[in-house]
């Protein structure tokens, strides 16, 4: 599988990328992150040369919920539980991050003592992140084991149809949008890889190992970055940051360094407009990829 990650497509580069790959055959597309606007993909279709086969994952999801009320009720409860987990995670994270920042600010006359305390506080933050991801995974696995969505009539039919489209496709293109919805429907319909995968923004985030949510420009100012869930894992070793300069206070190097520490050992990769990253084996980043260093500064990968 060849994976290409793009920057946000406000000024599309997708058409040039698709042309450069010389793909033959239809291209499966996912616009489920756009939710109700999923079918509004005429412009998208033109960018892939009129060869798109939209997997319509959002519409299929809504169809499953409508045709299988028992599953729909269970899924609603599951999503409410995940939301509560996320809220509790933020409460815990707030305490752990406050501790870390207070320790880092602490003056004192013995830097080695403070550095050791800092390392401990960082470990607490990482533990909170890890435990949260583990709890989410457990909740998801328990739900899937209990309800086996893939074996239920409504979802199973859609899975088969999705697989047929993918089997005939030369590539898979995943657009951005709501990353939570994308993750959910990609899993629900067991979307598999294609020979070539192109993704951007939320679409690319969903393919990583861990999805990190971030937004420093919210009405109330910077919010804590928070891990949402594991992704599909097709892009290992990276935490992707689309719109980084628009959404993050990238000039706050202490804050950026904190982010890098939480993402480690994965690299924080900046995906701004115009970026194209042709990933190598096991998600290896090409030279020139923009990443955030341990000092919190953005720089080019050598």
């Amino acid at each position: 599988m060849r994976v290409i990650v793009l920057g946000p497509q406000r000024r599309p580069t997708l058409d040039a990328v698709v042309r450069s790959l010389e793909l033959s055959g239809p291209i499966a597309t996912v616009t489920a992150g756009w939710q109700e606007r999923e079918p509004d993909d005429a412009e998208f279709d033109a960018l892939v040369g009129g060869r798109s086969a939209n997997l319509r994952l959002h519409a299929r999801w809504q169809d499953v919920l409508t045709r299988d009320p028992e599953y729909a009720a269970a899924e609603l409860e599951h999503r409410a539980a995940l939301r509560e987990l996320q809220e509790l995670h933020l409460v815990q994270l707030d305490g752990a991050l406050r501790g870390l920042r207070e320790v880092a600010r602490y003056g004192g006359s013995r830097p080695p003592i403070r550095d050791a305390a800092c390392a401990d506080a960082e470990a607490v933050v990482r533990l909170v992140d890890e435990r949260h991801l583990a709890r989410v995974r457990e909740a998801r696995e328990a739900f899937e084991a209990r309800w086996r969505p893939g074996e239920r009539l409504a979802a199973a039919g859609h899975r088969t149809e999705v697989r047929h489209v993918l089997d005939a496709a030369a590539g898979l293109v995943v657009a951005g949008g709501h990353v939570g919805v994308l993750l959910h429907v990609l899993r629900l319909f067991a979307v598999g890889a294609a020979p070539v995968v192109i993704a951007w923004s939320a679409g690319a985030m969903a393919l990583t190992e861990r999805v990190l949510l971030f937004h420093d420009k919210a009405p109330h100012g910077p919010a804590h970055a928070e891990f949402l869930d594991a992704g599909l894992g097709w892009i290992p070793g990276c935490v992707l940051l689309p719109h980084a300069r628009r959404r993050l206070r990238t000039d706050d190097t202490a804050r950026m360094a904190e982010l890098v520490g939480r993402a480690a050992p994965a690299r924080c990769v900046v995906l701004d407009d115009g970026v194209r990253l042709d990933l190598g084996e096991r998600g290896a980043l090409p030279p020139g990829a923009r990443t955030i260093g341990p000092d919190g500064r953005i720089g080019d990968l050598a």
């Binding site: 939320a202 009405p219 719109h243």
Partner: protein
């Protein structure tokens, strides 16, 4: 610094015609940097600007421009301010108070209209204006026969655009619902903030009071209506979260008292409260005159009791107040009482008065904090 328009006029020793031209050229009040010039024209013995800014005398005298019938007052107002005022004119024994005839801008409050001055830097937020790109939510009318209030209660229900029965929504109950819809553009604001992903898709119940001063001043019957009748019915009929984290009461002025008093009686029911310009009047020494008149008596008793024995009534409280309101001191004071119970409190002060525009302009801060939208989840 450029001389003020009124000073330039003064130097010209104006006649009636030049004053006519001056008034035609300028919006009143004339805002020049942080100076606002208030004007009144006519024959009178005294003219006053009447306002309720804490720390300023309630009546500020205007001066007559020598040899003319033009009266003026220059007031320094901090950037971003919005103040409400009226003009009082005395002719002999007769005094008359009303809105500024030279200023068409009006502000609405629970006690009527007043003239409004937008100081330098105040901009009406764009999210309060209709946005053609924002999908429109739906308003429907609901009537509940309330045993608690012994009357039919009208509720206007807001369902967000793209409302689906396969999703679940948090619930917001808004006191003085009709006024919030009419004077605080609540539907437009909700449509816009949901469209911009600032606020989660939310079902909103706008309740309409009958006798708000009675029902909203710590009334057990009103609390029963909300907690035992309205919320259970909505949760039975609509796909709502149905848990404390998904229930919020919002109110301004007496509506804020009603929100707090309702949550006080049902401490496990509501996760959040939005208390705007709450009429949290109290007395430190029991039976002294609190200055609010008899309608405030039950409020003062309730607030005094709450301050004596504060308790957690919700998880999160958004509290706001205009710094020009007489209620700013009670609000600043009660924030510490709320915090002492372990509730998470966000307190916002605005350079504004006790009116619907203040509460409208605060809605984004309040709602995006109580029910944040999916901004963090969306990467286009």
């Amino acid at each position: 610094m450029t001389r003020l328009a009124i000073n330039r006029l003064k130097e010209r020793r104006p006649d009636a015609a030049s004053i006519d031209r001056f008034l035609a050229r300028h919006e009143v009040p004339i805002v020049e940097g942080d100076r606002c010039t208030f004007l009144w024209r006519g024959e009178a013995d005294e003219v006053f600007l009447v306002q309720r800014i804490v720390g300023l005398p309630e009546r500020l005298p205007l001066r007559r421009l020598w040899g003319t019938d033009l009266w003026y007052l220059v007031l320094e107002l901090p950037a971003g301010s919005r103040i409400n005022y009226q003009v009082e004119v005395r002719r002999g024994e007769h005094t008359e108070r009303g809105n500024d005839p030279l200023n068409p801008k009006l502000s609405y409050s629970p006690v009527g209209t007043s003239s409004v001055c937008f100081a330098h830097g105040y901009v009406t937020p764009d999210w309060t204006e209709p946005d053609p790109d924002a999908r429109s939510g739906e308003l429907t009318e609901l009537v509940l026969q309330s045993r608690a209030l012994r009357r039919d209660c009208r509720v206007t229900l807001y369902l967000p655009a793209r409302f689906r029965h396969t999703a679940s929504y948090p619930l917001l109950v808004v006191h003085d619902g009709g006024d919030f819809l009419q004077y605080a553009a609540a539907k437009t604001v909700l449509d816009n903030l949901i469209h911009r992903l600032d606020v989660a898709e939310t079902v909103v119940a706008f309740v309409h009071p009958q006798d708000r001063l009675a029902e909203y001043s710590n009334s057990a019957a009103h609390a029963r209506f909300l907690t035992r009748e309205l919320v259970p019915r909505l949760e039975a009929e609509l796909p709502l979260v149905g848990q404390r984290s998904g229930r919020c009461l919002l109110g301004s002025s007496f509506g804020a008292v009603a929100s707090l008093a309702t949550a006080y009686r049902a401490a496990d029911v509501y996760g959040s409260l939005v208390l705007m310009s709450g009429s949290f009047v109290f007395t430190d020494i029991g039976a002294v005159d609190h200055g609010g008149g008899p309608v405030f008596d039950p409020v003062v008793r309730f607030v005094n009791r709450y301050r004596d024995r504060p308790r957690r009534v919700a998880d999160r409280l958004f509290v706001s107040c205009g710094v020009y309101e007489p209620l700013i001191m009670p609000n600043r004071s009660i924030v510490h009482t709320f915090e002492s119970t372990g509730m998470t409190v966000r307190f916002v002060e605005t350079r504004d008065g006790h009116d619907w525009e203040n509460w409208r302009d605060t809605l984004r801060d309040a709602l995006s904090w109580v029910y944040p939208g999916p901004q963090k989840l969306v990467y286009e």
